[in-house]
C-alpha cells in the first residue's frame, strides 16, 4: 500500500518509540534478573572469560598502537612549541579520559557484543528462549543478566588495561624512539592526572559497558521484532550488524554527554 511521507514518518516515529519502550523494559528485567535466585556464578565467570579475557588481545593491540600513535603525533605537535616535556601529560589524559573508555567499548561491541547478539538471536529463532519460558525458567536470570554482570565488571577492567598499555605505547614512541626525557614523561603524567580524571574514565567505561551489553543482547533478544530485518538467519545477521552500529553510535553520543556533564 502506498503511503505519503507524513504517514511514513509517523509510522517510523511510532516504531522507534515502541522499540525504545521495549528496550527500557528489557533493561529493567535484565537488572532485576541480577538479583533473582539461584545465581549463576559459573555462567558469570564464563561470560567474564569470554567478554573480558577473550578481548584482551584486541584491547592490548589497539591500546599499544593508539598509545604509540599518540606519542608520535604528540611529540611532533609539542616539539613545535618546545613543550615535549608535556608529552606524558597529553598521552595519559587523552587515554584515561577519552580514548581508553571509548575504544575499549567499541572493541568489546565489535568482538563480544556481536557474538552475544548472534547467540541470543539464534536462540530466539530456534525457540530456545521460548523453551526457557515454557519451563518457567526466567530467560533474563538464566541467560541475559549474567552477560550484563560480566560486561559491567569486564569493560572497566579492560579500560584500565587499555590505559596502562596505551601509556606504555606512548612512552615507547616518545621516550625510546623520539628521545623525550623519561623523567619528564612520567612526571608530566603524575602531576596532571587527577583522581577526578580517573573517576571520569571509570564512570564512562561503566556506562559504555552497560550500553554495549544492553543494546547488543537486546537486539538479539528482539530479533523477530526488528522492522525490515527479515526472517531466519538473515534476521540474525541484520540484527547483529544493527547491534554493533547502534551500540557504537550510542557510545559516541554518550561520550560527549558524559564529558559535558562530568568534566
Amino acid at each position: 500500500m502506498h503511503r505519503n511521507p507524513i504517514e511514513r514518518f509517523g509510522d517510523t516515529g511510532l516504531y522507534a518509540l515502541q522499540d525504545l519502550g521495549r528496550m527500557a523494559i528489557y533493561l529493567a528485567k535484565a537488572i532485576r534478573g541480577l538479583f533473582r535466585r539461584p545465581f549463576r556464578f559459573r555462567e558469570v565467570l564464563r561470560q567474564i572469560q569470554f567478554i573480558g579475557a577473550g578481548s584482551l588481545t584486541v584491547i592490548i593491540c589497539t591500546a599499544a598502537s593508539t598509545g604509540m600513535v599518540l606519542g608520535l603525533q604528540g611529540y611532533y605537535s609539542l616539539h613545535k612549541f618546545g613543550a615535549e616535556g608535556m608529552l606524558g601529560s597529553a598521552v595519559s589524559l587523552t587515554l584515561i579520559m577519552e580514548l581508553g573508555p571509548v575504544l575499549t567499548a567499541l572493541m568489546v561491541a565489535g568482538r563480544a557484543g556481536s557474538a552475544m547478539c548472534a547467540e541470543l538471536g539464534i536462540m530466539r529463532i530456534s525457540e530456545q528462549i521460548d523453551a526457557l519460558d515454557c519451563m518457567a525458567i526466567d530467560p533474563f536470570r538464566y541467560l541475559i543478566s549474567p552477560k550484563f554482570l560480566a560486561a559491567l565488571l569486564s569493560v572497566p577492567l579492560l579500560t584500565v588495561i587499555f590505559d596502562v598499555v596505551g601509556i606504555g605505547g606512548g612512552y615507547v614512541a616518545g621516550v625510546t624512539l623520539m628521545g623525550v626525557n623519561p623523567g619528564s614523561y612520567i612526571e608530566g603524567m603524575r602531576s596532571s592526572v587527577t583522581n577526578h580524571d580517573i573517576q571520569l574514565g571509570v564512570i564512562k567505561s561503566f556506562v559504555f559497558g552497560l550500553l554495549v551489553v544492553w543494546i547488543c543482547t537486546g537486539r538479539g533478544y528482539f530479533v523477530k521484532e526488528i522492522r525490515g530485518a527479515g526472517f531466519g538467519a538473515e534476521s540474525v545477521g541484520r540484527a547483529t550488524t544493527q547491534a554493533v552500529v547502534l551500540s557504537s553510535i550510542t557510545v559516541l553520543v554518550f561520550d560527549y554527554l558524559l564529558t559535558a556533564v562530568l568534566l
Binding site: 500500500m1 503511503r3 539461584p38 539464534i122 536462540m123 530456534s126 525457540e127 530456545q128 521460548d130 523453551a131 519460558d133 515454557c134 519451563m135 518457567a136 525458567i137 526466567d138 538464566y142
Partner: protein
C-alpha cells in the same frame, strides 16, 4: 468430564504491514478435556501456533478469556504464570534443544532450575527417562550430533521431567520420514498412557494423528470448528472443511477411513 483448558470468546489480531489488522482468532470458544488428546489443525497462518502461545501466556489475547486449570491466563500476573507453566510440557517444532548443552544437560535443565532435587536424584530420573525413550548411550552427545527423530525424543524427555499435566506438541513430526513419524506418534500415545496428561497436538499430519485424537479443532479464517471424530469431519457440510479434507487428507484419509 473435567476441562483442562477453556477458550471463551478469544480474540487475537496482528497489525498488517502497511496498515490494518489481521484477525487470527475471532471470538473463538472451545474446551479441551482433561486427560484426552486434542488435535488443532488448519492451513498456514490460521492461528494454530498462536493458539499454543496464548495457552502458554507467551502472547496476550486482545479479548476474551483463556482458563487453564482454573487460572485465567489473560489476566494472570508474572509469578503466577511462571508457576502455571511448570504444569506444562512443550515439544517444539524444532525441538528447541540448547545447542551448547549435552543431551543429559538438556534433559536435566528443568530439574536443576525448577526443583530442589540433588544431583544424584536428578541423574537417576534423567537416566530413567532416557532409557524409556531409547536414548541410553546418547547422553553425552550434543544436539548437533543427533538425527531429527532423536532430537524430538530428547525434547520429549525434557518436557516430561517436571511431570506435566498438559503436554503441547507443536508440529511434532515436521521434517521426519513416515516411519519416524509413526514411531513418534506411537511414543506419544505410550507416554500419555503412562503419565496421564492432557495433550494438544498442532499438526498438518491429520491422517496420522487421527488414531490419537479424541477431538479435532480446525481453524479457518479466525473461526474454528470442533469435531469428535474423523467421520464427523468428512460429513461436514461446511465448504472450507470439505476443501480442507480434500487438500490435506486426500487419499491417505480415504484409505484410513476404509481401514477403520
Amino acid at each position: 468430564m473435567s476441562t483442562a483448558i477453556e477458550f471463551k470468546n478469544v480474540i487475537k489480531a496482528f497489525p498488517k504491514r502497511g496498515g490494518g489488522v489481521q484477525t487470527v482468532l475471532d471470538q473463538v470458544s472451545f474446551s479441551i478435556p482433561a486427560g484426552k488428546t486434542t488435535v488443532i489443525a488448519g492451513g498456514s497462518g490460521q492461528g494454530k501456533s498462536v493458539t499454543l502461545k496464548l495457552i502458554l501466556g507467551l502472547m496476550r489475547a486482545d479479548g476474551g478469556q483463556i482458563i487453564v486449570q482454573g487460572n485465567d491466563v489473560t489476566t494472570i500476573d508474572g509469578r503466577a504464570l511462571e508457576e502455571l507453566r511448570t504444569r506444562f510440557g512443550v515439544l517444539f517444532q524444532g525441538s528447541a534443544l540448547f545447542d551448547s548443552l549435552t543431551v543429559y544437560e538438556n534433559v536435566a535443565l528443568p530439574l536443576r532450575e525448577r526443583t530442589k532435587k540433588g544431583e544424584k536424584e536428578i541423574q537417576d530420573q534423567v537416566m530413567s527417562t532416557l532409557a524409556r525413550l531409547d536414548l541410553t548411550g546418547h547422553e553425552n552427545k550434543y544436539p548437533a550430533q543427533l538425527s531429527g527423530g532423536m532430537k524430538k525424543r530428547v525434547g520429549l524427555a525434557r518436557a516430561l521431567q517436571l511431570k506435566p499435566e498438559i503436554m503441547l506438541f507443536d508440529e511434532p513430526t515436521t521434517g521426519l520420514d513416515p516411519v519416524m513419524t509413526q514411531d513418534i506418534y506411537h511414543l506419544f500415545a505410550e507416554t500419555q498412557a503412562q503419565e496421564g496428561f492432557s495433550s494438544i497436538i498442532v499438526s498438518h499430519d491429520i491422517p496420522k494423528v487421527f488414531n490419537l485424537a479424541d477431538q479435532v479443532i480446525i481453524l479457518h479464517e479466525g473461526k474454528m470448528d470442533v469435531f469428535s471424530s474423523p467421520e464427523e469431519i468428512q460429513w461436514s457440510a461446511k465448504e472450507h472443511i470439505r476443501e480442507f479434507v480434500l487438500t490435506t487428507m486426500g487419499e491417505i484419509y480415504q484409505s484410513h477411513l476404509v481401514e477403520r
